[in-house]
Amino acid sequence: MNQTIRRLPHARIEADSTVEFFFDGRRYTGKKGDSLASALLANGVGVVGRSFKLHRPRGILGCGTEEPNALVQLESGEYTEPNVRATLIPLYPGLVAKGQNAWPSVRFDLLGAVGLCKRLLPASFYYKTFMWPNWRSWEWLVRRIAGLGTAPQAADAERYVKQNIHADVVVVGAGRSGLEAALEAARDPAKRVLLIDSQEEPGGRLLGSPVPEERSWLANALSEVAQRDNITLLCRTTVNGYYDNNVLAALERRSNHLGPRSGNAFRECFWRVFAGRVILATGAIERPLVFPNNDRPGIMLASAVREYTHRYGLTLAREIVFYTNNDSAWQVALELHRVGVKVDAIIDIRGAVDSALVEGARDAGINHYLGTRVINTKGRSGIRRLKIQRAPADGDPSVQSVESLPCELLAISGGWTPTLHLYSQSGGKLQYRESDACLIPDCNNQNISVVGRAAGEFRGELNLQCQWLTPDVPPENQWVDFQYDVTAADIQLAARENFVSVEHVKRYTTNGMSVDQGKTSNVNGLGILALATDREIPAVGTTRFRPPFHPTTIGAYAGIELGALYKPVHLLPAHKAHLTCGASFDDYGSWQRPVCYPKPGEAEAAAIAREAVAVREAVGLLDYSPLGKLEVVGPDARAFLDRVYINNMVSLKHGAARYGLMLNEAGIVIDDGVVVCLAEDHFLLHTTSGGAAVIHRHLDEWLQCEWTDLQVVVNNCTTQWATMMLSGPKARDVLQQLDCDIDLSRESFGHMQYREGHLLGQRCRILRASFTGEVSFEVSVPARYGQSLWKILMQRGANMGITPFGIEALMLLRTEKGYLHIGADTDGNTMPQDLGWGGAIARKAGDFIGSRSLSLPVGLDADRLQFTGLELLDPKGQTISGAHILSADERTTNGYVTSAVHSPNLNRTVALGIVAGAAQRQGEEVTVFYDGLRQRARLVSPCAYDPEGNALNG
């Protein structure tokens, strides 16, 4: 078993190298240049996997992406990857792989006993067999028996990257046609050509050619590609997606060929390709023939036999037999003979074959059986004998002529399927060509062309005679989809059960639904369905292909956008100072902001309460920098703002501030904030924290799309300023200790006033507004001084008990005061009349955004959810936001709690909510419900703390 087969001299591997690897726990050696598949074959490993459903032993069928059987679990732990095709894994030293879907190993699979129950597992067995008592009772068992590799448990230790690239011409596939197309396109030196190939090296089928002229053509073409400055060649790169406007997605395997811990920064690169024109030179995939027990190890596509022989230099078996319905396999057989590999026989379905081929075979001493079918195969863990049946020469079916042939390797060819997955993804339609029973490109809206075998140009006629399945023998053991164990009988069953649409049959039988997406099975399945439903192939139609062409590592989709880079994070100017103060951070919108500043050993809730009390009793300091700041400038600025806010902005005086509500055109409240008049044509709009970009977009949309005659510009200056909010009875005292040219006294700088001046020698803006209910100074300095200002205020306020406070304390304080928080206390239906602003609307004469919508029937409904305070009757009661207000009959909800906190200043729960008709129901008792608990509460004014507002004017 461990005896490595000697390689043929013309192989493209390094003959004197030794590469050690492990498969299913055994140690083997291969050569540099091998794939795992070729190395396994070289070591005589015939069984490489077990089938999905029935656990039949399976061997290597193909040599590339089409491989349905040789799926392995590569490596282990944080490096493991399931369902990797052994044909696509370049051998590297120390490679460890395991066969899948078998226990204890693919050679001795105890689950193989499932095969004895095949009758119980027809197509759709999921839906039929496991129905009692229900599917879920069986799922665990089925998943254990049926299945592919094991999903990794550990996080992927490798890193991935995404790269965008533009090209005038993108050629997919660097086989002969692709190389020709790329060199042709590159003749124009101004054209950027990108040539992408999925194999370890470019060349396509030429890599498996023994013909000296073809080999030298390839060498010349590659050296010309290398010389062209305007050709970029990407190898080991599979184009998996073809999207609108010629955007392609490709996956480059950068270090997979080196194995884990290669030292490369990125294992794979996810390319997004922006193409002017695309040329698909994606080649064609050989189809198996469908006959009884055609899935035994040792049955291989003729094209794969060619590749393993000439590219990897393997003599695969002693007794090699070909079975075909077209000329291409004859060429392969003759090529094998030319390099000294003995071919025993060629069996051909066709009664007549080109005389040159027949003579060639005769000269080579190859037996040939024309008009003959394989009707069965024998062998335990691999093929040993063939049963063939000669078609009756005179057409008399009673004449039987059955023979048995020894066979160690059966090379099959049922024709070719142009690889048009990408063409189909791009929106292209396919047409059926009767002569070689294949689908070829038809029409496409994108700038795309298809060349070579992908276009059905096979360089020489195939002279194919179609045979979708073997007639006159049972269909039960005639495999179509090797990966999902679908037989010809399954497709016939689906047809009998009246599934006629090809898309339905695909899903009912699972033909073509496994990880190979039917690369070898789709067309055969289509043919069998056509026969079973007595239709022509074009009438049956084809399934549409979707990305990805080949499975793509999840990590590659993520690229570097993991962990801290998952999405952009905005940091405050004084971020480091908050860290020093012991802040705990959280994401608020896209900003990372302090939640609170817990002392050592202090719980967050306790810290929040402590901070809230400190603001009411002394002074607190909050980094308020994310508060949105938009400057609106221009001769029409005032008129514009009057249309934007429901409030009157015509009378706003220089230096004064006014609270405003902003609606969308449907009348829904989208933002609130303080508007300041800086000059007759210059206003400063404060938006909800983190909402500046959204409101900026809203204003821009109206200026650019509707009121194009208004001369107004909007400047988002949110982050130009670091804004520190001093709040509390001692706020003024703290600020007055700093050198400032603004008169901060109570008399000259009242609530809702704004001043500009200098603080500690730098420009500053100070707004007196309040979201806490206490005297507050929102002090803004250019952001570069933000951290410094924070430190100075903390120092200067120390003797007055200054306490840094976070967002949660701010939210607690504003809830005590019943100050509205848009998005928390409002929902997607809230109109200003629900917030007690009905009067302001009535007083405003002119039109404003959303105005007309407020008087639609929906706006006049008496049962609208309206903003209100909620006072629990039980002074020790608690509730949470999201708790429902029940209707009187308790059958429906009547609204819900939007904010609820335990107030340390009032020592009880304070809650806000939106409740049906609340404005007219003040004082009424309602039932608050959450988590099975009913509590009585009274609808009250939202403001629970200091309703007279004394603190504000202190």
């Binding site: 609108d244 955007v247 919508s853």
Partner: protein, 96 residues
């Protein structure tokens, strides 16, 4: 991902843009005077054609400008790009 030609910045990826839906919706001149039906139609009634669609997009990650495009909703082909204040040009191709 489609590619859109911003009239100012040139050809860019869809991810740089925001789609604003159907364009050329006329806001009633005197909102206060129109019926509920007309106002609701202005707010909510939108076309959903299989074929040519006139819609507005904003180059959010670029010049922040709104502009109009005519897009074939079947092929995603963009047949025209024009300014917000221009009227829709005649285009050939696509399926109306």
């Amino acid at each position: 991902m489609i590619r859109i030609e911003c009239p100012w910045c040139g050809l860019r990826s869809e991810s740089e843009f925001t789609c604003g839906g159907q364009s050329h919706i006329v806001r009633p001149e005197n909102p206060a005077e129109v019926s509920d039906e007309i106002w609701a139609e202005y707010l909510y009634q939108r076309e959903n054609p299989r074929g040519l669609h006139r819609e507005r997009w904003r180059h959010t990650y670029g010049c922040r400008q709104w502009f109009n495009v005519i897009r074939d909703t079947v092929t995603h082909e963009i047949l025209a790009v024009y300014h917000m204040t221009d009227s829709a040009p005649e285009v050939s191709g696509g399926r109306e």
